[in-house]
Amino acid sequence: MLALLSILLMALDQRQGVPEPVRYTLAAMVYPIRVVADFPFEMGSVLARELSGRRQLMAENERLQARRLLNEVRLQKLDALEEENIRLRQLLGSSYHIGEPVLIAPLMRIDLDPYSHLIQIGKGIRDGVFRSQPVLDANGIVGQVDKAGPLSAIVRLITDPSHAIPVRVNRNGIRSIAVGTGNPHQLKLTNLPNNTDIRVGDLLISSGLGGRFPRGYPVARVESVTTDPGPAFARVLATPTAALDRLQEVLLVKRDQQAVRLASTNEKIDPPPGKQPGP
């Protein structure tokens, strides 16, 4: 009986049909176990922070200040470019979404199934996380939310063998799909003919075609292109720009499906967010 039940559950889960309340309750039940497993490491980092010396903190502060200044300068230019872009798009008659609000989530240090690339983050449905929400870090796209619990969520990385993300070559706009390989430093581009104009070092950005990931975020950089007259397609490997094996905090893009639908119609254009003075 129980065997049948578990087979039924597996089939449902594979087809994404497990009722949300069931999943929610189960996730809430195991949350304490996760916290307990994470606790010693959390304590370790808290202690390290508390005990770090004044000199070290000052050095870090200085470094961060310098970086902030640099970023702000870049941001000024970006604001101008953004406004220009919106004006141009207005002329073309399509809407453009910029400045998606983000949510910062800490990583929980627990080990999940070692044969798939999953990470656990410390924000859940209560904080507005939803399934298939795009996840980024400072350098690029990390993955998407696979399972969301009340207080934590599991994120599938773009390098997971079962994950694929639509991308575009930044240089010339050639579209492809980047599929995970199971190696945390490698993605595979599919269906690129042998004569495609793609070179080592090309930046791949998300094309936003699947409607899941926001467009224009860096995904990977082409690492090797092997053209072989035998097979029909070139073998293109790329390295993710996000540091997938050294993540500490991730950003979740707060964007619902509605925005995707809006983007295709041109009824309304959001005003650009005003220049915000640095904090």
């Binding site: 065997a3 578990s6 449902l12 176990i33 497993a37 044969y115």
Partner: protein, 160 residues
């Protein structure tokens, strides 16, 4: 009163197993991580078959699925089957010397790995390499100390 605390001890040991299952390990040690919960379940099924059976194993397996982000029900199925086998054989395994017990545990752990491999294959995940079978070996190696430890706990708290 006695029954209450016995259930609590068993529950605590299983929860400890779950925590050990997700405790972060360095990269090189991750393929070596034994199936803690399965080992603890096998012990209780063998020592107290009237208390811990297929239902408990199934529930713990389900929790582990949620915890690890695995396909829901895979560990539940595997643990349920192994608990059933242990219940069938517990009269015999109980009187074995420790090393023979460890060998039968190896078989049970291999059954778990095999069921999980089938589930993986059926759900379209890529096949596994030789490292996939290592947890069964480390689990076997850990069986004697685990058995002695849990027996000491059982006698100390008179779990029946």
């Amino acid at each position: 009163m006695r029954a209450h605390s016995a259930a609590r001890i068993i529950l605590l040991s299983l929860l400890a197993g779950l925590v050990l299952t997700v405790l972060p390990l360095p990269m090189w040690a991750r393929p070596l991580r034994p199936e803690w919960t399965a080992l603890i379940l096998i012990y209780w099924c063998m020592a107290l078959p009237q208390r811990v059976g297929v239902t408990v194993a199934w529930t713990v397996g389900l929790l582990q699925d949620v915890l690890q982000g695995f396909l829901l029900g895979a560990h539940a199925l595997a643990f349920g089957v192994v608990a059933f086998l242990t219940l069938k054989l517990h009269q015999r395994i109980r009187v074995f010397p420790l090393w023979q017990q460890a060998l039968s545990t190896l078989l049970l752990l291999l059954v778990i790995r095999l069921i999980l491999l089938w589930v993986r294959g059926l759900s379209g995940q890529p096949g596994a390499d030789w490292q996939y079978w290592l947890p069964a070996l480390t689990g076997t190696a850990l069986w004697p100390p685990l058995f002695l430890g849990l027996r000491a706990v059982r006698r100390r708290f008179q779990v029946q």
